[in-house]
Amino acid sequence: MEWRERRRCGASCLCPLPVSGINFRLVETLKLELKGITKSFGSLVANDHIDLVVEPGEIHSLLGENGAGKSTLMNVLYGLYEPTSGEILVDGKPVRFAGPGDAMAAGIGMVHQHFMLVPVFTVAENVALGRESTGFAGILDLEQTRTKIREISAEYGFNVDPDAVVEDLPVGVQQRVEIIKALVRDAHVLILDEPTAVLTPQETDELMNIMRQLKAGGTSIVFISHKLREVKAISDRITVIRRGKVVGSAEPSASTTDLASMMVGRSVSLSLDKAPAQPGAEIFRVRNLTVMSDVGTRLLDDVSFSVATGEILAVAGVQGNGQTELTEAVLGLHKHVRGSVTLDGHELVGRSVRQVLDAGVGFVPEDRTADGLVGSFSIAENLVLDLYGKKEFSRGSMMNRSAIAEHAARKVEEFDVRTPSARAAADTLSGGNQQKVVLARELSRPLKLFIASQPTRGVDVGSIEFLHKRIVAERDKGTPVIIVSTELDEVLELADRIAVLYAGRLMGIVPGKSSRDLLGLMMAGLTAEEATVQLSTIPTSEGEPS
């Protein structure tokens, strides 16, 4: 039996894990310090004199809103960006990273939010890339890499096949490949950038177990997140970043409200005041809806549900399980659609997008910069993108500029869009304000159905509150509302009923107050009944931190 060697004992007691025989991986620990790191892009200061110390063998969380500068900081640390000023110290010695290669050599590994894996390569090829072992004349020899992957895979229970092609693997497994990549390169500090964004709650729990295992083995982890619950569950220490500056640090025992107000800079109400739904007639019906890709695979598979007036149906699921196709099919944006979608008795399948919108459907697309707005157009123009042809905004074939300007002024006021002028281009706005513009446009028509896809992705907490209130207000006006979200917090916050999609199939519809465990199992492919049965037989508390 071997014991892991460590140079220094961490503050929290770390009992070294016994490891068997040759699987032994010598882990040195190192202390990482960032001193006065500043990174500016032109006039934008993304990081402003940031100090951060990561002690050996600790899980250090970096908490901050989207756009607070967390990822920039980590890219500086990983050698992807050169800091404008400030220095990085490894074990007290200043280092300069000209590229990720230097950072890796210093023992820093990173799992990016968007995986850095070549989709058409095998696991082994991806892991080997950059430090390949070769035989005669540079001929690749992946055998060592395969062996190493199998070793690490066995050690942490990853169950990764070195010869699988990455694009065929589920995201959770791809993430493990990323971790293997770092471990193979002897990372002593592992940076995980928003690692849970693509995972189901159960996968998140598994990831946290892996993180604890790594920590026990002496690897320090920098965990970047904006999810308070996860940060509290896993961290040894928390550093909060707001607008590029460190605003303080906190213990994991700090209350959620305190953390949230540190992160946002003012007190925020985390729970939404929402009256119970008053569902009326089910005027929106989806029957046996199937959507096919160009090569004939089912992206959405025989989905049926209804939404009543005055209720919010949230569609939950891990990204890429058919949510996009569901909204596209309703809007008439998809080519190969079978089944029926009726609104107030009128069939929508086979209609053009214009006809669907005219039938009274309001739609907030999941990617607002690509599909929701024209970035170079002004706010005023974006507010009438779907209405410019209507009488009130046009004179013959000309635009009625004064009417458009008046409309914009009203909407900017009503939706609290923070901008110096409605003539400003839409891409000058922050994510939250852009989303308000999209919402303002979509809600300014009389609606019979409102669909919002990822309504608060990349939006600051302050705007989230506002957007959620407007969505609930629309429900209370008696509109059937569908929210598609991969954020379980948001789903639980807004939903009156929750539909879970997995691999294009509907796993069931459950009440809005269902447990995370239940939803997590459904998001992993169990039907509502199967998930309920499983939860009643297995105690559920194992995901909680000790």
Binding site: V120, F121, A128, G138, I139, L140, G296
Partner: protein
Amino acid sequence: MSTVISTKSSADNTALRDQLAVRSWKVPIVFAALAVFAVVVFAVFGPEGHATFRLSQEQDAWQLPDLVLPAKASGIVAALACVVLALMSYLQTKAVGRTARWVSSSFTVVFVAGFLIWIIGGTKTQNITLVGLFTGAMLIVTPLVFGSLSGVLCERSGVVNIAIEGQLLAGAFTAALVGSITGNAFAGLFAAAVAGLLVGFLLAAFSIKYLVNQIIVGVVLNVLVAGLTGFLFEKIMKIKVAGATIYNQPPHLPDLPIPVLSEIPIIGPTFFRQSVLGYLMLVLVAGIWFALFRTRWGLRIRAVGEHPQAADTMGINVNRTRFLNVLAGGAVAGVGGAYFTLVAVSSFSKDMTGGLGFIALAALIFGRWNPIGAFLAALLFGVAGNLKSILQLAVTPVDGQFLAMLPYALTILAVAGLVGKSRAPAASGIPYVKG
């Protein structure tokens, strides 16, 4: 047990229905149109007499007998076969959503055979030397393959090389000039590589370093090289000393037939009676394929072309890799250009590459960014192109200008995806900017 079987078959049924829902009628429609053409042209208006295909040349060691076919009867058979295969394609599309590969390939073979018989039967002499068809094709195939390999090197690393045409032309001109001055064909060959490399350098510098749109830089480079070589051709190559142009008299690269192999009917004369450039082509096709898919160098290049960020985070210098590959690609295309003036004809003339650089791009796509695929595609284009030149000499039932379109029509069909979806390297054409 029975439930398992029934679930499986119902899953199969579902998959089948899904394929039917998105089936494409492209292939049966094209086949039907071609079959109608075959019936009308090959069968109804088929020429009388015989079509003779000569398989051997007089000097060959092993003589194969000529293949003599009755033109009209063969035309009818071919047309009927086309109709049957088109029908099968329709039925298959209806039943399983797509045409089986063997039906497509049989259709292509039968149609091409029918076309050949019809056109040979229609000429005055009613015969064609197949060896001539293939050896002549190599005149087009060789530069095409070098061009495509240049494209493979560039695009696999993520840079679109539209400047292949310019690189070929620069190579052809420089080989002629340097070859004439030094009197050494190999000096010309080397100079051609350098010229191609320089054009590649411009492409790399502008598109990788200064992030100018790759397509636009490539097009501009083609125009630049055409203009420059044209100008220098007028100003230098037309200088006469003692009544002779001395700067446009490049020496020939000698043919080096390989013993035994060169005696194999058809294949021997086509591949094993070539100059050093021809063998270099074969070596490069195999070598680049091996390097791309079996070595560390290739793994890194493909990573850079597929997901540059991933390569960067693994410590690979993306832009340097791309730069070097574009330079290598330029040199390869330059060498290909030398073929025009050192092997094919013995002098340079204005715009002598005649758009082959663009056909090389098509061969690259047709060959799915794979050196061997590109080689086979180039062979196909080469044979089609040479058929045109052979038939332009004979009196044929169709106009020579119409036949001249043949390789290009083929190119469009190929690139339009009749041969299945081809997948370009994901980051091809997208400049990489850190951060």
